[in-house]
Assembly symmetry: D2
């Protein structure tokens, strides 16, 4: 008999994941803060819950994918939160990009109530989520990870065990988003440098994406930058900025100077200040170009 | 009949390239400022020249691979320089990492004497040069590029036409070295961030090198960083710093603000100031770690 | 009849201010988290309180000077906090360096209880506090400011009305600490630049302090830097770093990119990571010098 | 009998200095690349020279004040240059902001011809030059400095002996321009931070200029920033940018990482790229404000 799933948080990433579970035939309950999104899944067979607590009743695995630490705390610990409403032995699979400390805190809270917690942040854009081609990194008790893995095969092309510290996968996810943002800035600067010295940005993408930087981030994001293709946003800049601030907060508490990070924070802040927070995060390329006197 | 080759500049990159031409049976004359390096190729059949002018006499293709613009100017324009000593129609293939303006200037000088100039900077470390697995980007007259390509197959896995402006390939090469240095700094920051928050740096390399950053730069340089493997230098930091200053000089004349670049320049300067210029350029990871209070 | 004063928080700055009120003959109650500091004022005639609530009973003016927003919240809103224990019409004069939002929030809380709140952060080091030579900036209702000013004459050489928004003076204080830290970094870089090019750092201080930068910050802090005089700390680096993070937090919420600020945050973080948080904040000059290969 | 003076370079700073010598009754010859500026001084009694060599014939003191190292080299070493045309024992007083190495090189060249060289860069804006209220720092042989000082009393309120190394005063001048630019950026960031959090920029200038930053740079430049008063330029941004690149070049050769400097270089580069190089250098405040979403 298939395990029962609850999926909470149906944004750009959560929606296609919930749908994949439904398509694979799992009994799935969904919940979203704005209920219209949940309703859209009813035709796919989802049970629509009225609250997080309602959603998790009877579930074996509870996935959450929300915007930030605050929203997660609300869903878990708030009025009608899921903590305490889950059945004994059920697992909370937390996919949001959050502070490592939040995972550590929630893992303790779950432990006290006989439920478990695994951090499972993901890499990949909405299309990858819809195709089950994400990369997922896991942290938490290894027995819990083992139980979870059969489900993950519906979502990802690969999963990685980052360790038993519940916050470990969140550390890695934050490090990764920082590295991606760094690659975006580095490409933006290099491409504008190229353009102002006679090259075509598209030739730079083609060359580097085919040689020393032949990997998804440089190939895909490089193309977005060179073609000024920032809408619709695969990852909204305002949300990415939030993540960079999570890196900064974690760097602050662990005493790590990160000059590339702080440069990025200024860059993302400028974009938001100028009203561009709804574009894709690659749109910092606009400001890199404008600062060099190019109209983009 | 095979064309006659002259190879000038037998450092870590030039030596294996000259050797590949010799091994492929091309009549090859070599020259190096410190003559002992040239002598080492005599047993492979190289003719040893006493000066650049001597080296290029009778050559169809003259390759140069030297440390900087100044050294190249010396070899080309100096006393006993190659300019004017090349036979009409011969081609100067300039592989050094230099200012675009230097290429443009030398192309004009060659044109006035009936010889030609192609910029052909390379990507790859000494091992790749020895294995004929470099990537080479070319700029100059397309007819000249066409004549050159058969020879390049001995050196590279792929070559790219960047355009007819003789400086174009140098622009791309500078952009590339900047992007690599940016990736080194980004990884260094991310890995120290990970380590100070409980992760093993090697796990970060493995995860990112196997997923979103599955490309040579992140895989290879990531491993050097995570294992603190900085000797022998594949690319000496002091030389890399020189390249970053070429980027800065080109950014200055073309009015491109580049905050990542300037962060890197401070980083590389500190490394040299502390006496670490002979290590590999990935060794900036030492300072990133030290700044976070880690002993490395 | 002199108004009754309560002074809470007897650190390096609070202690001399409380003492000045006692010396001027005001009936003064003092409280400090670690009680030994308060006890030291008993011989000067201070009443020693056991809690914030105890301290403020009967007081007309309640001064607080504590390490951070959290400590202030604790003193005001915590168990045995001062809010609600103050007599109607009494004024809370908040001198700590805190978030503007904290002042705005506390002003509302006071208003709901019939007491008032004025933000009154100060500029000056402990010696200036002891000599009544601080500069104080005020924000809050102008009537409240007027009532407070006669008392301030014992503490400061000048006071400024920054406006009626309770957080305004905190904004200015944060801006000021950022500007001072910027001056410290700028001098540190300039002096190391001078030293490595043959000048004596002391000559730089003397020249600039006597000409275009003839003001306290450059004269005093310049001397600390040039003579490597970082102990005892007039302002502990760890505490200054906390203030820079308050600036960063306020810049984040108001969308202000501040590249000098973020450079400073990396600098201060490195100092703390290396174990130097107890020195004066001018000690970032050590790292500026070390990064340039100078032993300091 | 009054010594004979030659003044070469009649820009915004040189013109008022030459005029002061004429007004004080010194026999003065002037020269400027564009001759109309020189002609304007004929009515004040100046002899108009046709070339640098012509200008310095018979002069005891030769002042030069030109835009950059290249222009100075041209005037001194070029065709019709002053070197060799000066009478034995005459002194070249070099007031331009140039590389220390240029001064060292020119001092040697003068020494070989029996003439002397003193570096004498100045601090102050055109109004201060016209009022004889500059600050002048001197480096070179102390005997030469002593001979020069009586003349300087017509130009400056104070002069300082920075040492016998001819480049020393240039090092100090570069350090100073860097510190001023840092103060401009720090104020710009602080004032925008204040404005976006409810303060008036003019109140910030008044407070800080009257207290901890009570010195000309913060008072005058602070007012320019707060009132957006960038024309006419007291010091053109494009020229200031040139100076920052001289600092960067000197920092490069002496291995000094300077993160504030590199931030400034990006800032000034952006201003020029956007077409704002003719405004005063305080106009970087426009970009600081724009980056925060403020229209200025």
């Amino acid at each position: 008999m298939k395990p029962v799933i609850a999926y909470l948080g149906l944004g750009g990433m959560g929606m296609p994941m919930a749908k994949r579970f439904l398509d694979a035939g799992y009994p799935t309950t969904v919940w979203n803060r704005s209920p219209d999104k949940a309703a859209a899944l009813a035709s796919s067979g989802a049970r629509i819950a009225l609250s997080p607590a309602d959603a998790v009743a009877g579930a074996d695995f509870v996935f959450t994918m929300v915007a930030d630490d605050h929203a997660l705390d609300d869903i878990v610990l708030g009025d009608q939160g899921l903590l305490g409403a889950m059945q004994p032995g059920a697992m909370h699979v937390s996919m949001s990009t959050i502070l490592p400390g939040t995972s550590r805190r929630l893992a303790v809270a779950h432990g006290e109530r006989g439920t478990t917690y695994v951090a499972a942040p993901v890499f990949g854009r909405p299309e990858a989520a819809g195709a089950g081609m994400l990369w997922i990194c896991l942290s938490g008790a290894s027995g819990d990870q083992d139980r979870l893995i059969p489900l993950l095969t519906h979502l990802c092309r690969q999963h990685y065990n980052i360790g038993s510290d519940p916050g470990a996968a969140n550390v890695l996810k934050l490090a990764g988003n920082f590295m991606i943002a760094s690659a975006i800035e580095a490409m933006s600067e290099a491409f504008v440098f190229g353009e102002k010295n006679g090259l075509d940005q598209k030739d730079l993408v083609e060359f580097f994406g085919g040689t020393i930087f032949s990997c998804p981030i440089y190939q895909n994001y490089g193309r977005f930058i060179a073609t000024q293709n920032f809408e619709p946003a695969g990852f909204r800049l305002a949300l990415a900025r939030k993540d960079l601030h999570l890196v900064a907060e974690t760097a602050r508490t662990s005493n790590v100077p990160m000059p590339f990070l702080t440069t990025l924070i200024n860059r993302f802040t400028a974009r938001v200040a100028k009203g561009g927070g709804e574009l894709d995060w690659t749109s910092i390329a606009i400001d890199v170009a404008n600062d060099a006197g190019l109209e983009k």
